[in-house]
């Protein structure tokens, strides 16, 4: 049976916590066979999702909470980033590249999350919040190591 491990962190909706969040999640994910490149991609996914929660979910209010739940099952990594903010009215529109309500934001947050994960799902209810679920596998690296060894 595959080994299972779990991490839950909840922190204030402050941009100062972005670095802590992505480093903590990447350190947790490093327990399985991810490459350095893949761990950097996980950091980007966390940074983008938490930034969205702070900026869009809470409109930069510092008194709210962002919750991250990460699970390792064998060589599979599952990640949930959740806020209890205003939610997303039109998820399809929010996921379009370059969609942004601000001229200096590139609207690439979901593009990066989707590109760097193998599975992405967004659950959002207006005035209730948003949960982004992402999965990424390190199994192919295990296979490569097995073959080369």
């Amino acid at each position: 049976m595959a080994t299972s491990n779990q991490l839950t962190i909840e922190f204030s909706s402050l941009s100062e916590n972005l670095s802590f969040a992505r480093v903590a999640v990447a350190a947790f994910a490093s327990q399985i066979n991810f490459t350095m490149h893949e761990l950097e991609e996980i950091k980007v996914m966390v940074s983008e999702a938490v930034s969205n929660s702070i900026t869009h979910g809470y409109n930069n209010s510092p008194d709210e909470k962002v919750k991250i739940n990460a699970v390792i099952q064998g060589q599979n990594f599952h990640l949930e980033i959740e806020d209890y903010g205003c939610g997303i009215e039109d998820i399809e529109q929010a996921m379009e590249p370059a969609y942004s309500t601000s001229e200096e934001r590139m609207g690439l947050g979901f593009v990066f999350m989707q590109s760097f994960s193998e599975y992405m799902n967004i659950d959002s209810v207006p005035e209730k919040g948003t949960k982004v679920t992402l999965s990424k596998s390190a199994a192919s690296n295990t296979e490569k190591n097995y073959v080369t060894n």
Binding site: S15, E40, K43, S47, E48, I54, T55, M106, F112, S115
Partner: protein
């Protein structure tokens, strides 16, 4: 994040240090705007050799300055891209519209 600025060959040279995410972008944006308002430069060179991490909020700041500089006929040049930075830059399409050199010296010698 920290930054160091200088002016060489009509170019504002920005050396960035540290991670670039939403926690620093407002400060970075206002600092760059102030420099561009007050210095008679044509081009902007951003040295990222001491930046290990950047996300879309950081790319947005660079794109905003690119729009400003190119409107007046200047160039935005990037140097010293580390693997993570290059990965998101490529995915964003910014590397298709900006010039890139391996070092600041090489970039400055190629600015016409």
């Amino acid at each position: 994040m920290q930054l160091h600025t200088s002016i060489e060959n009509h170019t504002l040279v920005i050396n960035l240090y540290g991670d670039i995410d939403m926690s620093v972008t407002e400060n970075l944006r206002s600092t760059l705007e102030e420099k561009l308002d007050n210095e008679p430069v044509s081009n902007l060179l951003i040295d990222l050799s001491n930046v290990e991490f950047i996300d879309s909020s950081g790319l947005g700041v660079i794109l905003g300055r690119y729009n400003r500089i190119t409107r007046s006929g200047g160039k935005v040049i990037l140097t010293g891209l580390k693997p993570q930075v290059r990965n998101v830059m490529e995915l964003s399409g910014l590397l298709r519209i900006m010039e890139e050199y391996s070092s600041t010296g090489e970039a400055l010698s190629n600015i016409s």
